[in-house]
């Protein structure tokens, strides 16, 4: 690819990139605030990240189902799904909390956390889709 093609690709991507960053500010601020309200004491179930990941999974299902039915702006997807909900939810903090629970000897809590987050996240996203489809 020539440098001119790179520049033109970049220019075409710029509005979506701005939408992702704008949404990312909102999602990250919301995650930081929830984390501040619901801190996890050492050795305990990480309630804050759990609530964030389940809520975010429900909302992404809801958003994508609504998006199929209603006309939305081109930048709506990068803003809401990739920016806001993508940054609100997190895999890295989830993974770190699992490791912490395991190294603290809280294996049962770690297993409950992994299973409830993944099964709960899948159920929440499916439920969000159903609600979005039912809304007509």
């Amino acid at each position: 690819m020539t440098s001119r093609q790179y520049r033109s690709n970049y220019r075409r991507q710029l509005p979506a990139l701005v939408a992702v960053v704008g949404g990312g500010l909102i999602g990250s601020a919301a995650r930081a605030i929830v984390g501040f309200w619901l801190p996890t004491p050492t050795g305990h179930f990480p309630t804050g990240i759990f609530v964030i990941n389940i809520t975010g999974s429900f909302l992404i299902g809801l958003y994508l189902a609504r998006r199929e039915r209603a006309a939305v702006a081109r930048l709506s997807l990068p803003f809401w799904a990739i920016g806001v909900l993508g940054s609100f939810t997190t895999f890295s903090a989830f993974s770190l909390d699992v490791l912490r629970l395991l190294t603290e000897g809280q294996t049962p809590t770690a297993v409950v956390y992994v299973v409830s987050s993944t099964v709960g996240g899948l159920v929440a996203a499916l439920l969000g889709q159903r609600v979005g489809q039912a809304a007509g």
């Binding site: 990312g24 999602g27 990250s28 992404i60 993508g86 939810t89 890295s92 993974s95 899948l122």
Partner: protein
């Protein structure tokens, strides 16, 4: 102050996720969500490195954790797994779920043991 640092770092993480995930997915000919897999696994490794590095001061670690929080994503992982599994439960949905989970936690542990 910490919330502000985490917010800005998280938005930068979101931007990097969008660019990295899009580039990787674009180069792959598969419809398996390798873009999200790559950002989540690399983010899991990096958060292990950060958590193990106890010499980091608190602002640097808030910024790093905020960045990686925005860089990795749970909601997209869930929705992409559901898409792979539609209409019936398919093997690839299970692979996406278990590979991210198993490799992610192993990489966090590897990162942690490298710096701690």
């Amino acid at each position: 102050m910490n919330i502000l640092v985490a917010t800005v770092a998280g938005a930068l993480g979101a931007m990097c996720r969008y660019l990295a995930s899009g580039t990787i997915q674009g180069r792959s000919r598969s419809d398996f969500p390798v873009g999200t897999l790559a950002v989540n696994l690399s983010g899991a490794f990096l958060i292990g490195l950060v958590a193990g590095a106890t010499q980091l001061n608190s602002t640097a670690s808030v910024a790093a954790l905020g960045f990686l929080g925005g860089f990795t994503t749970f909601s997209t992982w869930m929705i992409e797994t559901i898409r792979l599994g539609m209409p019936a439960l398919r093997a690839r949905a299970v692979v996406n779920l278990t590979l991210t989970l198993g490799a992610g936690i192993a990489l966090t542990a590897a990162g942690y043991s490298l710096t701690n």
